[in-house]
Amino acid sequence: MNGDLETAKDATKLRRIAIEPVTRVEGHGKVTILLDDQHRVHQVRLHIVEFRGFERFIQGRPYWEVPVMVQRLCGICPVSHHLAASKALDKVVGVQQVPRTAELVRRLMHYGQILQSHALHFYHLSSPDLLFGFGSDPGPRNVVGVLAAYPDIAKQGVLLRKFGQEVIRITAGKRVHGTGSIPGGVNKSVSPEDREELLRPLPEILEWAQAGVRLVAALHQQHQDLYDHFGTVPSSLLSLVAKDGSLDLYDGVLRAKDHQGAIIFDQVEPQDYLTRLQEEVRSWSYMKFPFIESLGPSEGWYKVGPLARVQNCDRIGTPLAEAARQELLAAAPGHLVHAPLAYHWARMIELLHSAEVIQELLAEPELGGSELVGKGPRGGGGVGIIEAPRGTLIHHYQVDDQDLVTLCNLIVSTTHNNQAMNEAIRQVARQYLDGHEPTEGLLNHIEVAIRAFDPCLSCATHALGQMPLVVELQDPSGQVVARLSRGVEPIG
């Protein structure tokens, strides 16, 4: 644990480095590091500044608008918000279980989203670090550099991403701002023509997904010491699992394990999440720190996302992904894998699983059924939990008699991972920065640890000219003594 690096004993005598915003991470993030004159690390904090205002954006709107509006919270995983909101609002329209066709269409949409998001993350955001090295020349350390050096791998990434987008387009109705899922069900099923269109490329998609798992497993095995220890801090794990304990990214019950793999709680229904999870506010961060209530705030933090999910479940229900999961588990016999870099391996296992699930769903006759929306007695609110690409996503709403949302509580996966990311970068700072003059390559190590969790730091705007990376070195009085800026979009 690195709790001593959360707050320095005497910050006034230390130099401050700010990495702002973190590159290749969505939205606005900033890392601050306090060093003394011998470059010893005294404080490391990840600040996430963009999560303010989500609830306010939703409260006061008619509930039926919400599944569409919440997509505007995130430009990277709008489908996850679309579906989590729909699941929560199913209860408002009195539907505990949507019709079979609606569930199949929603599942197809969700696994398309997981596939395209994981493809983007691995091939676009992470592979430059993994293929070129964390401290390599930053010039080609990007997707275009990967395309030049590894054209087949990069092209597969582009086409995997495109396939996932097609699944979303067909199920959500549009490429962006889809309207396919509504409270109580969906508004369209999948036509035979669309089904054929998605089935055609699937053999190639499955082949590429398997190649992706092999690639990341090989990288892990080639650099085992690095991959096992880079930023590694044990913690509890949290995710949804199916009621039978298998991996389910769309629906299920909450399960938490401690850092050694013992069950903390299991079979917790989504509407009971507040009985097991609490959130702590800390003065230096806009983002809350959730924790498992029974363990308390200092011991109860946990990881969510692919690495948590593949180890929290008892099995994966598709054969190729389950075989790949067994290989990951065999890499750490007898204990859980906590290494942030193993997130990439787990992510590719889930990408493969998603391709297999999409294949299974496309074979379901009821995917084209006509019963799309359920009915029931009107309710006053609901909770929807889904496993988004980056981890557990909770939407909780209350709705008044005028159909307006009066309460909105969202816990996004990046919030769940807040402490885990802070712990990982403190560990990396201790391992790599401590005692060394900071360089771009060393600072990129911090970013590599953050990117492993794939945080969505809200979905800020991307406007041209807006998102430079600025590294500032300040003296103890706060004066900037050096400034490095990169990644600034050329204007004009």
């Binding site: 915003p21 590159t23 290749r24 991470v25 969505e26 939205g27 205002g53 989500f54 306010r56 954006f57 509006m69 505007r72 919270l73 430009g75 990277i76 709008p78 983007l120 091939y123 676009h124 955001l125 430059p128 930053p138 080609p140 350390r141 990007n142 997707v143 275009v144 550099g145 395309l147 030049a148 054209p151 990069a154 092209k155 990434g157 582009v158 991403r161 495109k162 987008q165 490429r175 962006v176 701002h177 969505c456 809200s458 979905c459 800020a460 705007t461 991307h462 406007a463 041209l464 000219g465 807006q466 998102m467 430079p468 990376l469 990169r486 990644g487 979009e489 050329p490 204007i491 004009g492």
Partner: protein
């Protein structure tokens, strides 16, 4: 499958203040005769990604439309050449990097331009600022005229 010769690709989140400039411009272009006739395709997305390189296949030209901070003038129209981002930041690519991705996949990309519209405020839930509303009107008037004339020279 045939595609419209000209693609206008607008980028932005409709619910984040001036980030909506690109999508709002496309809404205003929807009734243009060449759009209705299928000679121009309008496409909007939250942000540019690697797969947008595939949207450029078969085009004779592409215009990216985006909000931009730091512009002196209300809008600027300029030709784009492929170039990787100096260092990729966030989950989004720049228009130049989309062209560079296309170039790595397929060779020389179609001619491309950027219509950048001055934006200032990007808060979640905010509408367009008054100044940006005027910049949008100016940019729309200018681009619609150019499209009718079939002249995209700077």
């Amino acid at each position: 499958m045939t595609v419209a010769p000209l693609l206008i690709l607008a980028v932005g989140n409709p619910s984040r203040g001036d980030d909506a400039l690109g999508p709002r411009l496309l809404e205003r272009l929807a009734d243009e005769p060449k759009v209705v006739a299928g000679d121009i395709e309008l496409l909007t997305d939250f942000q540019l990604q690697i797969e947008h390189a595939l949207d450029l296949v078969g085009r004779q030209g592409v215009i990216f439309v985006d909000a931009q901070v730091g512009l002196q003038e209300p809008f600027r129209f300029s030709q784009l050449l492929p170039a990787p981002d100096p260092s990729p930041h966030s989950h989004a690519l720049s228009p130049r990097a989309v062209l560079a991705t296309y170039a790595q996949l397929y060779g020389a990309p179609p001619p491309a331009w950027l219509l950048a519209i001055r934006g200032e405020h990007f808060e979640l839930g905010a509408g367009l600022s008054q100044a940006s509303d005027q910049a949008l009107a100016d940019a729309h008037h200018w681009l619609a005229e150019r499209l009718r004339q079939g002249n995209l020279a700077e």
